[in-house]
């Protein structure tokens, strides 16, 4: 049976049409997962710790490890909060694809030349 939908068809939240990982699967989040805030989503109902994460993210993008460091919050806890924020649409998460899935010479060449210039 098709669930009855309210007349919101046609409205697409800004975080929806992305190619990034957006499922709240805990194991898909790691220290280097990048978190992108969607500041258009209402904050109502967020826990205090989740609000602190959103405050920190408001100006831009950070990896999960950086949130842990700046808020002095253990990584496992940041993972749980981030997974919830992904589920609620406040945050988009992008975890690196496994190296074997991206035999990406162009990326490696770019990293190499950036390192040379360091």
């Amino acid at each position: 049976m098709t669930p009855v939908r309210r007349s919101r068809a046609g409205l697409v939240r800004s975080h929806t049409p992305t190619d990034g990982q957006a499922r709240p699967v805990r194991s898909s989040l790691d220290e280097s997962t990048l978190l992108y805030p969607d500041t258009n989503i209402e904050r109502g109902g967020l826990s205090m710790t989740a609000s602190r994460v959103m405050d920190l993210l408001a100006p831009g993008v950070l990896a999960l490890a950086e949130i842990s460091a700046h808020l002095r919050m253990p990584v496992p806890i940041v993972k749980v909060i981030a997974a919830d924020l992904v589920a609620s649409g406040h945050v988009l998460a992008r975890t690196p694809a496994p190296p074997e899935q991206r035999n990406d010479c162009e990326l490696l060449e770019r990293i190499l030349s950036a390192l040379h210039e360091l």
């Binding site: 990896a63 992008r94 390192l115």
Partner: protein
Amino acid sequence: MPSMSSDVRHLPTSVTQSVKIIVLGPFGVGKTTLINSVSEIRPLSTEETMTQYGQEVDDLADLPDKTTTTVAMDFGRLTIGDDVALYLFGAPGQPRFRSFVDDLMLGALGGIVLADTRRIEASFDHIDRLEHAGVPYVITVNTFDGAPAYSEDELRQAFQLDEDTPLVVCDARRRDSAKLPLISLVRHLLARSEASRPEPSHA
């Protein structure tokens, strides 16, 4: 609660992906020094709390009463162009953090194993674990004042390296030297990547 945002350096939203490289080696071998030498952000450290029920920690309330071990993990960051963030993670060297480090290796582009010529054998276990995890790596001898210097041949023999595994000597305190193992690792990854490509067809 003091605001910490003044010293937070965010990535621009143009960044579309991150990659991670793990720096391994025994305690005190210079992992943090190397990371800080190349990082664009001030040294940061996560607080990792490990519980014996690591995967089952579902909310904050689960944490305080279980057996926990806290380990700090230092890391740094480099932005490549305007769309890639490279993270360098220093894996804690103590054997009791082994399972934590194994998790950290998942998805890593590669590893840098740091060694000190006064205790080369202390790095063997780290090499074995990267081998086991199938993560490509380079061996890096960090030069310490007063530590014996050996020829590359001697070092390669001591580490029992095959000819494909790069060996680098660097001074982790200096950026122009600390970047050498990173360059060597990325070259190594490129060589592997090219070697695994299918032969061009000559139809």
